[in-house]
Symmetry: C2
Subunit: 424 residues, 2 copies
Amino acid sequence: MVEEKVNTVQSEVKELGKKAKEAALKLATLSTEVKNKALLAMAQALIEKKDYIIEENQKDLAEGEKQNISAALMDRLLLNENRIKEISEGLKEIAALPDPVGEIIAGWKRPNGLLITKVRVPIGVIAIIYEARPNVTVDAAGLCLKSGNAVILRGSSIAINSNLALTKTISEAATFHGIPEGAIQSVRSTSREAAQELMRLNEYVDALIPRGGESLIKSVIENSTVPVIETGVGNCHVYVDKKADLEMAKRIVINAKCQRPGVCNAAETLLVHQEVVKDFLPVVGKELIDKGVTLFGCSKTLSLIPEAKEATEEDWRTEYLDLKLAVKVVESLEEAIDHINTYGTKHSEAIITEDYFAAKKFTEEVDAAALFVNASTRFTDGGQFGMGAEIGISTQKLHARGPMALPELTTTKFIVYGTGQIRT
Amino acid sequence: MVEEKVNTVQSEVKELGKKAKEAALKLATLSTEVKNKALLAMAQALIEKKDYIIEENQKDLAEGEKQNISAALMDRLLLNENRIKEISEGLKEIAALPDPVGEIIAGWKRPNGLLITKVRVPIGVIAIIYEARPNVTVDAAGLCLKSGNAVILRGSSIAINSNLALTKTISEAATFHGIPEGAIQSVRSTSREAAQELMRLNEYVDALIPRGGESLIKSVIENSTVPVIETGVGNCHVYVDKKADLEMAKRIVINAKCQRPGVCNAAETLLVHQEVVKDFLPVVGKELIDKGVTLFGCSKTLSLIPEAKEATEEDWRTEYLDLKLAVKVVESLEEAIDHINTYGTKHSEAIITEDYFAAKKFTEEVDAAALFVNASTRFTDGGQFGMGAEIGISTQKLHARGPMALPELTTTKFIVYGTGQIRT
């Protein structure tokens, strides 16, 4: 009986994969005009079907209440008229972005006359495994469609009714406007087996992007045979150099920690050069504490900020995603770089300094997706970088690193024009 | 006892990983000059230590004889003075290639004054798992060093003495010339456990490139948690369109099949439009058979080439890597495209035609790394494309597609220059 159920789930996912691959081959050659019209129709459909979507969302909220999930999670789950409008606007923004498909990235002629061109094309079929927020369903579908990819969405079970309603709404609008069936699909089964099957569907799926917390990412890396683009975890540092403008440093530290503590580009550890600790730490410490931040400090920090708690080795590794900050006094720029390369997650790292050579050394020697000189780590974001809507922030080194927007959802093909050349 | 051995192997591989990561951080900031001098010194050392290398190679050859391995494999294993000279020359060529590290790929200023730059940097630690040929040891080490990466090499057990001798020779020369220790390492253990450990060393290894046959690639994809760049398998097609220059088509088919049948960019299936089969198939069939090629044909092919054997479904899927060719008559360009998208491995695909729209449709709708119009599939190669020495040919869509040379061994980091910007 159990085995039978597993088989059904596997064949459901396989069927989605097959349909998606067929759709992908057609999507790859669609004009920008068709894709944009479909995106605008999808935006319109969300508004028209808002009552239906809210009704389905209510089922998830009721289930959430029954399961006694946290208020924060309930809030992330909620869809109301305003939020649906925002999601709809997001699709219009994607329609307005340039289409990456078809760009000739490079081209050259060989001595034998072969003309080699490297052309941007869609990846094909992209699977997204994500948590809670139903808006990801539409954002991801919109970005994948614009970049010519078919998408298979697998959200968390608690949002299943909302996700299916959103998928139904936008995929119907899309197919009505010339997008092939199978371009936008959600996995109906919320079972673990469905996710497992999706992660091993190499025959049909070209790339898998997990969006969520550390444990989701870890599970995907552990279990997926489909190529994965790792996103998310950010244990980010701000290093205040001995030559820092301390007023600027304070402003940036407060911003990097407090402006939105629950996101991956918020600062989690403050490193301060020993030559400026006396002038800097008591002042910034007071302001952080006033803003509700709990500090976890090294022994020198504790001597200057009595309210701080003692940091353990674990604190240097922790992505708090909360109003908590680890604080460490370092003896040199080298120690700061070494600390970051040891404990960081290669996401976003900042140095505050007026020293040209310190800035150069920091940005060259710290291994991370984004390095900031005299700016907040909070800027690591597709929109803030001016790249347009993002599908996630890659913390791996292959394919894409840092914010991923439309071009990062493409690959390339070589098209070679000859006149009968053979190899000798 | 067995468990103890496994633990020893695991800690050996882990130790290599740790050393490689430390080396990678230093390698990332080395000047091109230092890297080039080291490459030339490595080339020199191979010549100086050739007796030692040949002596160690003899041990592998003796073992190979004892194991009764094939003549082809024995030949691939063999190192003699000439081959060592060739390998040494390869390093000099790598030294002469431009250094990809440090290139600013893109840069722009944001309305808030932030200057965003996207800079090419090494990937970090690259692991290579490969089969038989000892020259891969040196090629891969050279390419990784030039692109600023530390490399961990894991060749096949039959070549272990040769590989260790080559690694010792070049790594000693490299460290003597300022390359950090740990930049070039080979795994000493030839056990399965060592390979398994390497595939799961996410803490230290940034990317894994398997080089070898289908079963090696499959095993790596199945078992690796480290991001993989898939290489190699090529079930390539030549499609002869109804508007083809048949003389040119014949020349290209013969070249694509016969010039070097054992490699991934050789043609494995010939597709011919039904309107030209009568003029084309008997002629090309005879020439192929004269060159020793066995043909496996569809029923129409059999009626025109009596010597051909009957093709089964399996033949459309097979990468023969041999003087064998599947032949199918198709009713239309669409059928050819469909056949390739169904059975191909997304490597290299060619159309022979004088029809502009057929060429356009084929190159747009066939999903592969390299599409050729009126040229042989045998050109899919880093050197032939003018990209310099290649580390492999990617058949996946993430990170790199097609021949991978030095730039494909890099990633990027964003370096953002501010003047105190915070996010509001």
